[in-house]
């Protein structure tokens, strides 16, 4: 349904199982699953029955391993499947904004992350909601932040599942007649992931990350060097992309596709990049991860070397256009064009079957690892800031671990619902939808790092209105070809009248409302919450009194983009 109007003849040869590639894929999947279950025994703790052990698995890697792991974490189904697919189907506005997004991300986190590191280490905060609670003294605001983090993670996990599904489909499985047969391979992959996350906790993705990174680096390097030369060089790639983009329209929006954004798309491109960059480090898995840095300024130093990864991300995005030049026909097993299949299909067409299998494994495992990490982070947030804070304050550690384990299953279950119910033709929307929600916690988290000027009730009201506006606006973006809601993340910005990323519009409404209500509440002398932090907390560094090493996740100092 992606591109009915595309001038692509139905391919006759896409059906059938690619035996060799599938065998390689299954081989790696079994190895990884075995490693995932074995992880529970790795450095075996006395008991797995505590949140510390299950959810935080506390390990500290050396500098170079950390850097290596960071790089691997930037490559998920988002970079490997969703961004190139958007480039292939709709062009630069839908896909290439990921490059400025991952560039301006680093100056933004440079600014506020050190303060968050310091205050969190002085007070033992592990989640964004912990900090908001300590700073505002408002349980309600803290709950809002926790719920949002939990909710926004789901579509992001769903995006990972779409990546796994794409690989399976190109390999030739999962296309049976009824929906059970169609989705069965995805269910099996999902079930294995859920089970080893359940038994091994964060140790599982930590171990699998090594396999993932090695595979992904091999595939990326081979792909970006070998493929363009095979299809006639970059110049030809861009000419082919330009031709396709200028002769096709986006069936979902009814608008022309984009080779290079025209004047009408400047706002959309800029707000997608800015909104995504501001949103990424609000996710529970990324905040918790950043806190695992050794010292206050580590994240700043990392921020200056991490943009290098954006370079490879950009080249991967361009593989979507390489696929245009190569004439890749991403036709699913149901006979319909599905843009999400374009990169796996490109690999299958251009590489020998065994290497296509390696590439499939890289994509699939590259999606499994972040899916596991995200679901664990969301589960920890639930346990810490919802279950323990509201439902059962006197929960034992064993009960906490139990709740987290079950919640990690629930989160993945919801993610599966996202995959099965929402419009997948532009899967990058899953990530953008999560961004709309999570960005609404930005004022509470980041503004509070600098000032308590905003009243806690005003921030809560701003959050609520931003959430409702963002959700309604995203729902109202319908796919013009089939009428399904949540088909995009870009809508007209009120007042400005240009198309823009809904998250940024909702954020602006959120901030303005919070500011106005703050003035009102101050005038009405509404009670202030108690701030348990002091200015000095925001500058503390490793070695200062009461700066304890936090038991946070093992290796993510930057999140999976």
């Amino acid at each position: 349904m992606t591109a009915r109007s595309l001038a692509i003849a139905p391919a006759a040869d896409t059906g059938g199982v690619n035996g060799v590639a599938l065998a390689v894929l299954i081989f790696f999947f079994v190895v990884v699953a075995a490693a995932g279950f074995w992880a529970a025994r790795w450095r075996r703790p006395a008991s797995m029955e505590s949140l510390e052990e299950w959810g935080l698995g506390g390990r500290s890697f050396g500098t170079w391993i950390t850097w290596f792991l960071l790089g691997g974490d930037l490559y998920t189904a988002y970079t490997f499947v969703a961004v190139p697919a958007a480039m292939w189907a709709f062009g630069a506005v839908n896909g290439f904004f990921a490059v400025p997004y991952t560039i301006i991300l680093y100056p933004i986190i440079f600014i506020f992350m050190s303060r968050l590191w310091s205050v969190s280490h002085r007070h033992g905060y592990v989640t964004p909601a912990d900090f908001v609670h300590g700073r505002s003294g408002s349980r309600g605001l803290s709950l809002a932040v926790a719920v949002t983090g939990f909710l926004a993670t789901m579509p992001y996990i769903a995006l990972q599942l779409v990546g796994i599904q794409a690989v399976l489909e190109v390999a030739g499985v999962g296309g049976g007649g009824n929906w059970v047969a169609k989705d069965l391979p995805l269910f099996i992959a999902f079930l294995v992931l859920a089970l080893y996350t359940y038994t091994s906790g964060l140790r599982a993705p930590a171990i699998i990350a090594f396999v993932k990174d090695i595979l992904i680096y091999i595939v990326i390097i081979v792909a970006v060097i070998y493929l363009p030369s095979k299809v006639g060089g970059w110049g030809h790639v861009f000419d082919a992309a330009e031709h396709k983009m200028k002769t096709t329209t986006n069936a979902a929006t009814g608008k022309p596709n984009v080779f290079i954004p025209g004047a009408g798309a400047y706002w959309a491109y800029a707000t997608l990049a800015l909104g995504s960059a501001m949103a990424l480090f609000m996710y529970p898995h990324s905040v918790t991860a950043t806190l695992s840095a050794k010292s206050r300024n580590t994240i700043r130093k990392n921020a200056s070397i991490l943009p290098a990864y954006s370079f490879l991300l950009g080249l991967l995005a361009l593989l979507g256009w390489v696929a245009i030049a190569a004439g890749t026909k991403p036709v699913g097993l149901d006979g319909k064009v599905n843009g999400q299949l374009v990169i796996p299909q490109l690999f299958e067409d251009m590489f020998p079957a065994w290497f296509a299998g390696v590439a499939f494994a890289a994509i699939a495992i590259g999606a499994l690892v972040p899916a596991a990490i995200m679901s664990i982070a969301a589960a920890n947030t639930f346990t810490r800031n919802i279950y323990k804070a509201w439902i059962k304050p006197d929960a034992t550690t064993a009960q906490e671990a139990k709740v987290s384990k079950v919640t990690s299953l629930v989160v993945k279950g919801f993610a599966l619902i996202f995959v099965l119910t929402l419009d997948k033709s532009n899967a990058i929307n899953f990530q953008l939808l999560g961004g709309i929600w999570i960005l609404q916690t930005f004022p509470a988290l980041v503004f509070y790092l600098y000032t308590r000027w905003f009243h806690r009730w005003a921030l809560l009201a701003g959050w609520a209105v931003g959430m409702v506006y963002g959700t309604v606006a995203a729902y109202n973006v319908t796919n013009k070809s089939n009428g399904s809601p949540f088909a995009g993340s870009v809508a007209s910005i009120p007042v400005i009248g240009q198309l823009g990323y809904i998250a940024v519009t909702a954020f602006a409404i959120n901030v303005i409302l919070a500011a106005v209500l703050t003035l009102v509440l101050r005038a009405a002398k509404a009670p202030e919450g108690k701030d348990e932090t002091i200015p000095a907390d925001y500058f503390a560094d490793a070695g200062d009194p009461r700066v304890e090493k936090l038991a946070v996740g093992p290796h993510e100092s930057t999140p999976s983009a």
Binding site: A92, F96, V99, P100, I103, I104, Y106, P107, I108, F110, I111, R122, H123, G124, Y125, D130, G134, G233, W234, G235, H236, V237, F238, E242, F259, I260, P261, G262, A263, A265, Y266, Y269, A270, A273, L274, R296, N297, R300, K301, A303, S304, I305, P307, A308, F311, G314, L318, E532, T533, I534, P535, A536, Y538, F539, A540, D541, G543, D544, P545, R546
Partner: protein, 105 residues
């Protein structure tokens, strides 16, 4: 979560240098948000449209600017250790480099 010591202000900082670091960080953000300045095909470089290679160029520039900001920030607000109670800074030493808890400097 913990008892709050009564310590007050942020460590002293060179405001000018902090502003400079802020400007360096703002440059890539502003440059990339001004989409109209680079949304064009020509001139191409090695087959890459301007729109593409210009953004790749900013990957490198951003890296350089962020690293510069990192060095500047370290100098603008040198770390000041706290007393063992964690409620005040050990910065009454005129040299500005008070001995740490364990006697090292």
């Amino acid at each position: 979560m913990s008892t709050t010591p009564h310590r007050h202000e942020a460590p002293p900082a060179n405001k000018g240098l902090l502003v400079l670091a802020g400007v360096l960080l703002a440059i890539p953000i502003v440059a990339l948000l001004l989409v109209g300045t680079y949304a064009k095909d020509e001139p191409r470089l090695g087959g890459f449209p301007f729109f593409i290679w210009y953004q790749f160029l900013w990957v490198i520039l951003c890296s350089v600017l962020t690293y510069s900001a990192y060095r500047i920030v370290l100098r603008a607000r040198p770390h000041v250790p706290m007393n063992p109670e964690g409620d005040s800074y050990l910065d009454d030493d005129p040299s500005g480099r008070a001995p740490r808890e364990d006697g090292t400097r």
